[in-house]
């Protein structure tokens, strides 16, 4: 009991000072000074929050058949329905689902797939990049040659192939359930090369520095040196690539789902919603298509602008 405060106290001091360090840092100062970065962060954060809290914000649960009324189908945005008199902020689709709610839930899927795919690509890329940069030799040749071969092909094509193969391996009855995970795997595996290349390059520079030499001399294992010593020093370019990759992954997911080789109709992402909406383009129900498309663009653009800013901010040559 008496230990607790003593143990806790220093930790708190450290944490506070870390926050201080961050608030006083150049990067944060530059962030405050850049209206583009601040605005895109606000937009991105509010989109992420509304996706996270979709069940609380959404007026209806679009995937609960009990809450749907077919009579509400094709209600225009902000206009009361001719039969039921109900009004919907962004209108409804053919089955009477509230478009605003489906977008919130769809954004959840899009963001989840995007973030998970980038994390997967990051883990694979960092691991292989560290190993090939630190160990070198044959291991490096094999890893980097594989990366070169994969880079010859557009990543969306690689993702489609992986998706097709993974779909073939999963038993038919699990295919819809597994689609999201297969999608993450496909996009993640199609995107690791960038990470591996950058980490390898940075590792090769770091490994010749004295602190790595010192760590080796005191007998730390290669595993510990790579993870505890080199990795923290190569993370800033990784952060930039991760942000830009997130925008690309969100677009890639939307493209795949739009093409019908991604999120299933039971778990629609923004891409799936656009695919569904495209069917009503000719009959005049424009809102079913327009709002998911605008959401997707806003999401991708805010991440992209943030990535651009981060790249300039973390690049010492541009300061």
């Amino acid at each position: 009991m008496t230990d607790m405060p003593i143990k806790d106290a220093p930790q708190k001091v450290v944490e506070q000072s870390r926050l201080r360090v961050f608030l006083d840092s150049d990067v944060f100062y530059m962030f405050k000074k850049s209206p583009v970065a601040v605005i895109s962060t606000i937009i991105f954060a509010s989109l992420v929050l509304s996706a996270l809290f979709a069940p609380l914000i959404a007026p209806t649960n679009p995937f609960d058949p009990a809450s749907l009324n077919l009579m509400n189908g094709f209600t225009g945005p902000m206009t009361p329905n001719a039969f039921t008199g109900e009004s919907f902020f962004l209108g409804t689709d053919d089955q009477g689902r509230d478009v605003f709610s489906t977008i919130l839930y769809g954004m959840r899927v899009s963001l989840f797939v995007g973030v998970a795919a980038v994390l997967l690509a990051m883990v694979i890329g960092i691991t292989l990049g560290l190993i090939s940069g630190y160990v070198g030799g044959w291991t490096e040749t094999i890893i980097m040659r594989t990366a070169d071969v994969q880079l010859t092909f557009p990543s969306i094509l690689v993702a489609m192939l992986i998706f097709g193969v993974a779909k073939g391996i999963t038993p038919v009855e699990y295919r819809d359930q597994m689609a999201i995970w297969v999608l993450i795997l496909a996009i993640g595996l199609s995107d690791w090369v960038q990470f591996a290349r950058v980490v390898r390059g940075a590792t090769m520079v770091e490994k010749r520095k004295e602190y790595v030499e010192a760590a080796r001399l005191i007998g730390r294992t290669p595993y510990a040196i790579m993870l505890r010593h080199i990795l923290p020093n190569v993370l800033s370019p990784v952060l930039v690539i991760a942000t830009i990759s997130l925008a690309l992954a969100i677009i890639a997911e939307a493209t795949l789902s739009f093409l019908g080789v991604g999120a299933p109709a039971t778990q629609p992402s923004l891409g799936t919603l656009i695919r569904i909406g495209q069917g009503f383009l000719f009959s005049g129900e424009w809102w079913i298509l327009l709002f998911p498309a605008v959401t997707l663009l806003t999401l991708a653009l805010s991440v992209n602008l943030l990535g651009d800013w981060l790249r300039d901010a973390l690049n010492p040559r541009l300061r």
Partner: protein, 326 residues
Amino acid sequence: MLAFIIRRVLQSALVLLIVGLTAFSMFRFVGDPVDNMLGQERTAQDIERLREQLGLDQSFPVQYYKFLSEAAQGNFGVSYRQGRPVAEILLERAPATLELAAVSGLLAIALGIAFGVFTAIRRNGFLANFIMSASLIGVSLPTFLIGILLIYVFSVELGWLPSFGRGETVQIGFWSTGLLTASGLKALILPSITLGLYQMTLIMRLVRSEMLEVLRQDYIRFARARGLRDRAINFRHALKNTMVPVITVIGLQVGAIIAFAIITETVFQWPGVGLLFINAVQFVDIPVMAAYLMLISVMFVGINLIVDILYFFIDPRLRVDRAGGH
């Protein structure tokens, strides 16, 4: 120099072997080929016969070798979904994709160079600035949304152009062309803009930045001092010298155009190879996927090889570097 070319050719061959192995493993291990090819009513004899026919009773390397030599002769097996030889389906679909890719490539090159030169010469003009900002928006829009936007404006609202299909086609030998009929040409407009827009902006930006670089050079100033007309300076002296990097980028983008045709073909229901591939992925039609993978890799690897070798001839500095580096 010969050593460099030989090394590059060997590298390319190795890449193709690896891709072939991937395609073969897909065919061999994703699902059971026997299951996929025989219907519900089958006997043990049928299974045995098919296994022998497919060579599934032989060792893996032998099977792989057979698969490759068959593929090299243009035999990619039978589509699970359509029950017809894959090569036949591909041949039937290829003209649609190639015509689309060719038209959008030409469009991208012509407009890209024209806009690039224009925005470089009138660097601060209103129109030039407008084109530059519009190109930024064009780059950040995903391809499928550009296609939908074009359909909405030109098919739904204005009703000028068809929103799907190839229109009427004319059969010349095995080649079905949409270039000879009015409806075929009309159907080609929207898909080729959708497909070529990204490449157009890429070429435009490259030409612009290269032109700006070149226009600063002494020989341009000298040409002006000689009293040459602007037109002659801009096109004969400046543009010519921007072409080396532009040609390289165009070469590398040919592959990208074919790959992104998948998306455009789906948006416009264009009956080409890309739509075939995406349907194959949807229905796990492995032979079609494997054949598409191999065809497109031969193309990509070939283009990369040609561009590398061309570079070698065009840029003498590269020769020195490579010789010193290795």
